[in-house]
C-alpha cells in the first residue's frame, strides 16, 4: 500500500519536529526563539493534519540527517533543508485536496518557504530539497 499525501505530510512534520529538537539544541540567542517558534508551528500543523487523516501516523524514533549536525551552522542548514523539503510535501497535498484543506496546505507551504529564508536559505522558483 502506498503512502497518501496526507500521511507523507504528517511524516514530514514528524521529521521537522525531530529536526527542530536537534536544531534548537545547537543554536543560541535569537535563533533559539526562532527554533522554538518553528517547533510549535510544525507541531500545530502536524496535529491539524492528523485530525483530518483517516489513519494514525506513527513518528519514527530517530532520523538520520544527510550531514552531521553538531554546531549552529550545520543546524541552520538542516532547518533550511527540512523547511524546503516540507514545501514539496505540502504542494503534493495541495494537489490531492480541495477547498479549505488545499488552502491550508498552501498556507503551510508558504510558511515553510518563508522560514527557510529566515534560516539563511536562498529563494527558489520552486522551493524543495
Amino acid at each position: 500500500m502506498s503512502i497518501t499525501p496526507i500521511e507523507a505530510a504528517i511524516s514530514g512534520e514528524d521529521a521537522c519536529i525531530y529536526a527542530y529538537g536537534v536544531i534548537g539544541s545547537q543554536v543560541r540567542g535569537a535563533a533559539t526563539e526562532r527554533a522554538r517558534k518553528a517547533l510549535a508551528d510544525h507541531r500545530a500543523w502536524r496535529d491539524r493534519l492528523q485530525s483530518q487523516a483517516p489513519v494514525i501516523v506513527a513518528a519514527s524514533i530517530a532520523y538520520d540527517f544527510p550531514f552531521p549536525v553538531e554546531d549552529a551552522a550545520s543546524a541552520k542548514l538542516l532547518a533550511v533543508l527540512v523547511e524546503n523539503r516540507m514545501v514539496g510535501q505540502y504542494a503534493d497535498l495541495a494537489a490531492s485536496t480541495a477547498g479549505t484543506a488545499r488552502e491550508d496546505a498552501v498556507t503551510a507551504a508558504m510558511e515553510c518557504a518563508t522560514r527557510a529564508i529566515a534560516w539563511g536559505g536562498i529563494t527558489m522558483a520552486f522551493p524543495q530539497a
Binding site: 511524516s11 521529521a15 529536526a19 506513527a58 519514527s60 524514533i61 530517530a62 532520523y63 538520520d64 540527517f65 544527510p66 533543508l81 527540512v82 523539503r85 514545501v87 514539496g88 505540502y90 504542494a91 503534493d92 495541495a94 494537489a95 490531492s96 480541495a98 477547498g99 488545499r102 488552502e103 496546505a105 498552501v106 498556507t107 507551504a109 508558504m110 510558511e111 515553510c112 518557504a113 518563508t114 527557510a116 529564508i117 529566515a118 536559505g121 536562498i122 529563494t123 527558489m124 522558483a125 520552486f126 522551493p127 524543495q128 530539497a129
Partner: protein, 149 residues
Amino acid sequence: MSRRAVLAVGAGIAGAGVLAACGDSTAASGPANDPVATEVAGAEQALIAQYQAFITTFPQLKVELTPILDQHADHLKALGVTTTSTAAPVAASDPRTAVAVLADAEREAAKARRSSCVAATNPELARLLALIAASEASHAPALTRMLAR
C-alpha cells in the same frame, strides 16, 4: 520495519523536475488549459515588468533583484501560457522604496496564488501554484533582508 527514518534529499531536482513534469503534460487537460493558468500568467508578467522597471531606474539593484526576476520568469514558463499584462509598473522615488514596494507585491502575489490554487481544477496546476505561492512568500523576507543591509 525499521522505525529509524532517513531524511532523504533529492539533490539537484529543484526546478528542473517540476518544469519537465509540467512540460510533458500540457496536452488536452494540462495545466495550461485551465483559465486559472492564464490569469496567473498575466500576474506573473506584471511582476516581471515591475522588476524590470525598477532595475532600469535603479541599476544598483540589478545584482540582487535579477535572481528573483528570473524566478518569476521560471514561474511564467512553467505555466505554459503566453499572455499580456495590462498592469503598468509603478514608480518609486528611491531604491529602498522600490524594494519595499516589491516585498509588498510579493506578499500579495503569494496570497493571490493561494486563491488561484484553490480555484484550479487540474491537480498538477494546483501543485505548481502551491510551489509558486511558497516561492513568492519567500521573496518577501529575502527583499526585506536587502533593506536591512
